[in-house]
């Protein structure tokens, strides 16, 4: 069985424009706190802000050497961080979103060694909600703030995961996944991070 290699590399300067194009797609902007289109200048400023920022880490998701999407951690402290992700490309190995979930949990708890991982999704983002439920996140509550979209105002749903829970549940949850995804999860690797936000 041939299984793609999933490799997460720290965001580098040569992929900034690719990432900006991904981020500006309507299907991705709709799920972000800020729905504005990002200009080249704003992207440049954003990337400068990542340098030497120990609280944020941005990885590009490579599948068999092709850049496909983003996995990022922010609000990183010694004990806690938050994460998010998206698939920027549309042509992907079926089930790739599940690998982003596994990668996020593994990196947060094994590499960053935080005790708690936070996640937020918009209430209309059904697939992300179901994914968090499948991986057995705890539901914390609903944001008091609402966010405007074309079709109305929406809340954020807040989830969290504790380090000891993932350690206890990891194998059982991976065993619930289809065989090929379970196998692909074993082929996830991370490039070296110097914890300064990016490789820019």
């Amino acid at each position: 069985m041939k299984i793609p290699q999933s490799c997460f590399e720290i965001l580098s300067k040569d992929l900034l424009e690719t990432v900006r194009c991904w981020r500006n797609q309507p299907r991705i902007r709709r799920n972000m706190l800020s729905t504005n289109e990002i200009t080249e200048c704003e992207q440049e400023q954003w990337s400068k802000g990542l340098q030497n920022d120990m609280t944020r880490l941005y990885f590009v998701y490579f599948q068999d050497s092709c850049p496909l999407g983003m996995l990022y951690f922010n609000e990183i402290t010694e004990d806690v961080c938050s994460w998010g992700c998206y698939l920027g490309e549309e042509a992907v190995w079926p089930g790739s979103g599940l690998l982003l979930e596994v990668a996020a949990l593994d990196y947060a708890f094994k590499q960053l060694n935080v005790k708690r991982l936070n996640a937020e999704v918009f209430e209309f983002n059904v697939s992300a909600k179901k994914m968090h439920q499948f991986f057995e996140y705890s539901f914390e509550g609903v944001s008091s703030t609402t966010y405007q979209r074309d079709d109305g105002e929406y809340h954020l749903l807040k989830y969290f995961y504790l380090q000891h829970e993932w350690i206890e549940r990891r194998e059982r949850i991976l065993d619930k996944l289809p065989r090929q995804i379970n196998a692909a999860a074993k082929k996830i690797t991370f490039g070296k991070s110097n914890r300064n936000g990016c490789g820019l």
């Binding site: 069985m1 041939k2 299984i3 793609p4 299907r27 599948q63 068999d64 698939l87 549309e90 042509a91 992907v92 190995w93 079926p94 089930g95 790739s96 979103g97 599940l98 059904v126 697939s127 179901k130 994914m131 499948f134 996944l177 289809p178 065989r179 090929q180 995804i181």
Partner: protein, 82 residues
């Protein structure tokens, strides 16, 4: 092939409580079809049970589908010769 895939998609969507978009057609982008990542992973497993092969695990060079038509084409291309 297309019929088998569409029927299996519908069955997986019901099982995973996904709602396929009403105007699902050949040009539908898979990420926008209503079936989520778990659904697609299960779909590939179910089709392997049904058809006896998983094209994504036998292709030499990885080619991943963007649309429903491309997904069907991959299954047709890698179907075992009878």
């Amino acid at each position: 092939m297309k019929k088998i895939i569409l029927e299996t998609m519908q069955s997986v969507a019901e099982m995973t409580e996904c709602e396929l978009i009403s105007d699902l057609n050949e040009e539908t982008v898979l990420l926008e079809s209503g079936l989520d990542s778990l659904g697609y992973a299960i779909l590939v497993s179910r089709l392997e049970e049904e058809l006896g092969y998983d094209p994504f695990s036998i292709m030499d060079e990885p080619v991943y589908p963007r649309t429903l038509a491309e997904f069907v084409n991959i299954y047709e291309k890698y179907a075992p010769v009878k």
